[in-house]
Each structure stands twice: as C-alpha cells, then as structure tokens.
C-alpha cells in the first residue's frame, strides 16, 4: 500500500494526457430517440463517458398525495451501472447519486413548463453506462434532449459541461483522471438562449480570477454542446424542431 503519485496532467507544450489542448472538448456523440419504450430518450457520449437518458410522462402522479394542484412534479434519478467506474460501484443509490439527482432535477425544472400539466408527473432517468468524468453534465445534456424527444414543452434546451483546474491551468471538459488529480472541478449547466446558469457546483480550489475564467471557458464549451444537440434533433426531426 503506497501513496499514489499524482501524474503530470499537462505537459510543457500545454498538451493533456489524452492529447487535447486545455480548451478542447473530447469527441462528442449525441443521439435522440435511442430507446423504444420510453416517451423520449437520448444518448450522449463524451470520450469514454457514456450516458443514456429516458423520459416517461406526463402521466398521473402516483401516489396521489404527491400531486401538485397547479403543475407537474418532475422526478429525476441519476444512476450509474456497477461497472461504470474504475472501482465497482455498489448496487443501490450512493449519496453522490442522490445529490446529483437533485441538482439535475433542479436544472431541468428551470426550463420545463410544469404548469402545463397540473397534478401530473414527469419521470427523468439518467443512466451512466461508463463514467470517465463529466457524467452529471453529460446526463443533464441527455436529459434535456430526452424531454424534447418526449414532446414536453420547454423554454429552451439545457447544455452542460464541466471545467476544471489541473496543474494550475483552467481546462475544458476534464476526464476522470484530470478530475481525480486536478485542483478543481466545476460542472455547469446553461440555458444557452437566455444565457443563464441552471446548474452550478464547484469542488476544489480556485482563485476568484480563475473562477471567472472558468465560467468564460464553460461558455465556449456550452456552445459546442448546444450545437451538437441541435444537430442531433435535426437529424431526427428535421430542421424545424431545433426551435424547441
């Protein structure tokens, strides 16, 4: 049992372990309507991070005493398969999964027109098949597409990405190893049309200036994600549906 040595994450040329520059996103693949039985679904792959999302509803809230008279309730579960991580994840929900379910739900609530479906429920399930950093943001990206695919009315889509700080540099889209050995990880969910933040967490240490630069870098990444989301919807539904 020896203390793990932190690897060098960015070389002298500013190149990251996987060959990216600090502001590069990993290869991104987005698809909608990937699961047959749900009302809406999406798949997001960001490097080795692989996430499904599915939506059921609007449907009758159940049990009934949880129903809200003037709008729908939104349920959300972020869950990881046991083999998605380096160490096997225990079965059942960890505290981390419960917290992330909450922040993803709150982000989605910010854009869904819940008032249109009083006394109803909308269920959102995010399933992380492989976790290599950025699973909550990939999950939120997928979940907002699954809602769109289910025809749930929304103010706009949500695009999400993480920024981080490793070896003193602010980077876009940290991988698992960069998250683990880096100095900070900051996942951000954005409603791009209104230019507002719907999910924001920070775990690590940044100066105020680094924090500002992190926010700016996130906006760059968000634009790329948002573009890919729109393309995925266009492939499925044609040009018109990108105006959700």
């Amino acid at each position: 049992m020896t203390q793990v040595i932190k690897p060098k994450l960015i070389d002298e040329n500013g190149i990251r372990l996987d060959g990216r520059g600090p502001t590069d996103l990993r290869p991104l693949r987005i698809e909608v309507s990937v699961l047959e039985k749900s009302d809406g679904s999406a798949y997001v792959e960001l490097g080795k991070t692989k996430v499904y999302a599915a939506v059921y509803g609007p449907k009758e809230a159940h049990p009934k005493h949880l129903a809200i008279p003037d709008r729908a309730i939104l349920n959300c579960r972020y869950h990881m398969t046991s083999f998605s991580t380096d160490e096997r994840k225990i079965l059942g929900m960890t505290r981390r999964e419960i917290e992330l379910s909450k922040v993803i739900r709150e982000a989605l609530e910010s854009v869904v027109f819940l008032e249109e479906f009083p006394r109803s429920a909308i269920d959102v399930f995010v399933e992380v098949v492989q976790a290599d950093g950025g699973t909550r943001t990939a999950g939120l990206t997928a979940a907002s597409l699954a809602l769109a695919d289910a025809g749930i009315p929304m103010r706009e889509l949500i695009a999400a990405v993480a920024v981080g700080k490793v070896d003193g540099t602010i980077i876009l889209d940290p991988s698992d190893i960069e998250d683990k050995y880096g100095e900070a990880d900051m996942p951000i969910g954005v409603a791009p049309e209104s230019n507002t933040i719907v999910l924001l967490q920070l775990n690590g240490k940044m100066t105020k200036d680094e924090f500002r630069r992190g926010l700016e870098l996130a906006r760059v990444g968000i634009q790329k994600i948002y573009q890919a989301q729109r393309e995925a919807l266009r492939r499925k539904y044609g040009a018109s549906t990108t105006e959700v």
């Binding site: 699961l35 039985k37 749900s38 499904y52 449907k59 046991s82 083999f83 991580t85 492989q130």
Partner: protein, 273 residues
C-alpha cells in the same frame, strides 16, 4: 411479499389473447413473425471499457447490457479450490413504464437467479481455474445485468449477454503466490455456453420469444436453458397459468431447435459457443 402486478383489464387481454391465438392457428404472429421465430438478435461485446467484460444484446427492441467486474476475494469454505461469481439484475426504470426505481423487485431477482442457474448448472465457467491460492484467494466475478429497453422476453438476451460478457472477459493475471503479474491478463475459462429460449403458451399453441404485447396476453410462459450438448440445465415457468403435461415434449423440442440457431449466431459473433 409477492403480489400480482397491475395489468390491463382482463377483457382487453382476453381480446388480444384471442387474436394472437387465431393468428397462431394460421402460423402467424402480430408482428409478422412465424410462431417459432425470434426477433432480430444483435450482439456487441466490449462496449464498456472500464468493465473486465461487457456485452450489449438486443432481441428486437429489448436491450440488455451486462458488465463484469472482477475482484479478488476468498472462496466459499466448502469450495476452497473454486473462484466465485454472483449475478445481479436490474430492471432499470429507463426501460419500461412498469419498472420502478429502487432495489430489484421479485422480477429482477428471478431474472438474476435464473441466469445464475444457467451459468452454474450449465457449468459455463471452469471455476477451479479462477482459484489463485486454495482456500485463500480467488477471483470473484460480479456479473451485473441491466435491462435498458424492455419489449418482452428479458430472459434470453440476458443469458446471451452474460455469456458473451464472460466469454470476452479479461482479468489481471496473478501468480500462485498471489502477486499481480504486471502487464499480463487471462481470459475467463469457458467450459460451455448454456443458452435459453423462452416459450409462450396459449391453450395448445406455442410461440417463441414473446414481445411485450404477446407476453401480457399469454396463458403462461416458460424459460428453457440447454447446454451445448442439449442437456436441460435450467427451467423456469415464469408466469401464472397452466401448462398441459402433453405440451412438455414440444416445448423441449422447440427450445432445442431455437437455441441451436442462437448458438450459431453467438459462435459467429463471440468466437465460441
């Protein structure tokens, strides 16, 4: 406590059941298949790099992901020379409106236990080769099955995906003294590939691989698992209802025929079978 799940009202089921039965009498199915015809099967292995083994298998729209994580552990005290495996199955709420979040219910537990029996009784794995130090250190295989999309019959693709994940599973090599042999890996030693076929029964008629609409309308159904020599290694009547004794012979024969077709495809994709 086991309880009856809420289904459609009986009369709508009865109408659909009648329709399916009439089609079967004409050798037809509601989705254009013939009675003894599986939906399209696809198999992909190594789909999750962080797992030691993994496979994604579809039968029609039903989609199953199995991943295997290998750890080191101690053997059971009455089997000191054998590695250990355990099977878990989760019917993800992603996959169907009838699946709830939470710990596996009786359906998930039944699925896991039936797959476990197929592997165990079908002697699929040479467990003695997964022993590192007798009585002290063995490989422990966690075989975890996730139903991602559910359009009927999760048993057969689950057995396929578990076997495909096992057959392609790579594990770090350890020496007989329990040291990691750096850079070297071994494969899970496969002795046999048990595979299953699920049959639906309506009155005196059989069909294979029921889709969801059929599943809800069947009188009953049965899962039959055979090894490569066509020995019966597991059976599970997995829903309420009667099977006439007189149908059992056909059931076994139809299962054998179907499994041999699946086995050919499995061999082609996975390399063994």
């Amino acid at each position: 406590m086991s309880f009856l799940p809420l289904k459609e009202r009986s009369f709508t089921i009865k109408i659909m059941s009648e329709k399916i039965y009439k089609l079967l009498q004409q050798g037809k199915r509601i989705d254009e298949r013939s009675p003894y015809e599986f939906r399209k099967i696809t198999m992909q292995t190594n789909v999750v790099e962080k797992a030691n083994g993994s496979a994604l298998v579809s039968v029609g729209s039903t989609r199953i992901l199995t991943g295997i994580k290998v750890e080191l552990g101690t053997p059971y005290s009455d089997r000191p020379n054998e590695g250990v495996f355990s099977v878990n199955a989760e019917l993800l709420p992603l996959a169907s409106k009838s699946f709830e979040p939470g710990p596996p219910d009786e359906r998930g537990i039944e699925l896991a236990r039936v797959v476990d029996r197929c592997i165990r009784e079908g002697k699929a794995i040479d467990l003695e080769k997964l022993c590192i130090i007798p009585g002290k250190m063995v490989y422990v295989l966690y075989i975890d099955i996730y139903v991602l999309d559910y359009d009927g019959n999760y048993f057969d693709p689950s057995v396929m995906s578990a076997m495909a994940a096992l057959a392609t599973c790579t594990i770090p090599k350890y020496s007989a003294t329990g040291e990691r042999v750096e850079g070297e890996n071994i494969k899970v030693p496969i002795r046999d590939v048990p595979l299953s076929a699920t049959l639906g029964i309506i009155r005196d008629r059989l069909l294979v691989d029921p889709c969801l609409v059929e599943e809800e309308s069947l009188d009953t159904s049965i899962v039959v698992c055979l090894d490569s020599a066509s020995n019966v290694v597991a059976i599970q009547k997995n829903s309420p209802g009667h099977i006439p004794f007189s149908l059992m012979e056909s059931i076994i024969n139809v299962a054998e025929e179907q499994i041999s077709k699946i086995r050919a495809q499995f061999k082609e994709v996975v390399g063994i079978g």
